[in-house]
Amino acid sequence: MTWTVIARKEFRDASRSKLLWLVVGLFVVFAGGASYLYAQIPSFHIGGPNTQFSAVGLLVFLEWPVTVLVPVLGLLLGYKSIAGEIESGSVKLLLSLPHNRSAVVLGKLAGRYLVLAVGIVAGFFAASIFVAASYPTAQIGASIGFVLVTIGLGWAYISIGTCISALTQSTTRAGALIFGAYFLFGSLWQPFGRLIHWATTGSFSFGFTGPPEWFIIFSRLSPNGAFHGVLSGLLSFAKTDAGLSAFQADPVYLSSWVGGLTLLGWLIAPILIGYLRFAGADV
């Protein structure tokens, strides 16, 4: 299948990007540094269901650096994938060879997915050196799960970046849009939800009852929200996190499965949109 040929080329090409390895290096520092910090500072050991020095608590703590850096990695890997080739003209070399445009999109994704996975695993591996040293009771299952979901988050952002790349066909516009996407799905998503709440109720606050159902569902719709949803189930603090003391059982929309499906949706839908645009475009 020709997409494998393209995937290999993409992997070779993307893995030589200095910027990429800088971000991976940052991730290693963050994850390693966070692990170290967590072990040193007792007051950080809150929120997790277990006692201090818990490996699970560390994973909870690591969620924050992951959601800061992994989207950057994914978006950087995605934003030039199509626009860069069209702008520079290297797409002409690629499409002079017998590849369908679908193979081009698939191959680029596969190659870049692999680069990200390698980077994340390398980052966590480096961090795990600290874990092994400081945490006598390592939670292997949860840790592996955490790494896999982190890779899933990164892949979703590669898809988003690639979609933006295919839609804009310009690296400068794509660069601006991934900047926007990063903040929209990151720090601006919840405030945006609050804005809607204010528009419909006249108040920013959620009061005694806590956030309404739709707000919680909305929170879990962004890639970061979905990631959080999967992790919650994985690390089982769903109830306390959502402030849902009033509910008897975990509602289905808080489950890991829904979060996982949402993340999968963020992986697939942008690609379809991007492919349709690229397939019909003059290059």
């Binding site: 393209i6 003209g89 290297s90 070399l93 017998p98």
Partner: protein, 306 residues
């Protein structure tokens, strides 16, 4: 089965008509040169053949396959040197050729291909560091992979020095000798003249002339240009020479008279000059070049930015 066929192909980009009802056929095994000024639509024609752009109306086939619906089949049998390409900076030359071979499912020796195009030393260096001429050779090498039935070359001598351009022409001849058709566009007329079986001239998206280089030359009304060095230029000499049969243009300057005419009118021209009492000090003749031909067909074309 023709190598290339274009039937009524029109391509509009917004309000600009890049190709205008283009009709063109290149038989199998022919070397066809595609000439035209900048902006004539040469690259757009090639873009249509390769499905980089889709025609607004009309149909194109390459090696019997429809250019839009069977593009992948075409691109597995065709070698392309496109215009406005960019190499992959972080991959080496060898990796580029290997990628081309893998893409076409061929085993081969990347080194041998690169040797043929004259790229031996830099083969394992990253292509980002290549000069324009080296990159051009590299992409030509990629086009030659797998002995394609048709070579489509867009401005192939760009960035090549005379030695490189000559090697390019030799490669084109060798490929044609092997049985491949070659379709290449250029505005370097000397290159086209030297190798083509037929030449087509494109202007504003339409084919305005198409024939062998020899026949094209004779069709524009002159075959020779004579520059006659004289001691003086009487005021009526231009009129008298223009009146001669077979003379298409006369230009009088200080000390020279330049006459464009058919071959067998040359002696009449010289006789007329001498009969007006002018002493001929020297004269040179040159056959009409493809450049003159090109200018004759395209001189009314508006200036189009590259």
């Amino acid at each position: 089965m023709a190598a290339i066929e274009l039937h009524g192909v029109t391509k509009r980009f917004g309000s600009v008509r890049a190709l205008d009802d283009l009709e063109l056929t290149v038989p199998a095994g022919e070397i066809y040169g595609f000439l035209g000024p900048n902006g004539a639509g040469k690259s757009t024609t090639i873009d249509v053949l390769l499905d980089f752009v889709r025609p607004t109306t009309g149909r194109a086939t390459v090696l019997g396959h429809d250019a839009q619906s069977e593009s992948r089949a075409i691109r597995s049998r065709v070698g392309v040197l496109p215009d406005g390409y960019h190499v992959y900076d972080r991959l080496t030359g060898r990796q580029h050729v290997q990628f081309a071979m893998d893409s076409k499912g061929i085993d081969g020796d990347a080194g041998a291909i690169l040797e043929r195009v004259g790229l031996t030393e830099a083969i394992d260096r990253r292509a980002g560091g290549y000069s324009k001429g080296m990159a051009q050779r590299l992409v030509l090498g990629m086009a030659l992979v797998g002995e394609p039935d048709l070579l489509i070359l867009d401005e192939p001598s760009t960035g090549l020095d005379p030695a490189g351009a000559r090697r390019m022409r030799e490669i084109i001849r060798d490929e044609a000798a092997r049985g491949a058709a070659v379709f290449f566009s250029s505005h370097i007329l000397g290159q086209v003249d030297a190798v083509c079986d037929r030449v087509g001239i494109l202007r504003e998206g339409r084919l305005v002339a198409e024939d062998t280089p020899q026949k094209l030359r004779s069709s524009i009304g002159f075959q020779s240009k004579m520059v006659v060095h004289v001691d003086r230029t009487p005021s009526d000499i231009q009129q008298r020479l223009s009146a001669l049969q077979g003379v298409t243009d006369v230009a009088v300057a200080n000390g020279t008279i330049t006459v464009e005419s058919a071959d067998d009118s040359k002696s009449a021209v010289l006789t007329t000059i001498e009969e007006s009492g002018v002493a001929v000090e020297d004269f040179t003749t040159e056959s009409a070049s493809l450049e003159d031909l090109f200018m004759a067909y395209t001189k009314d074309a508006p200036e189009v930015p590259a």
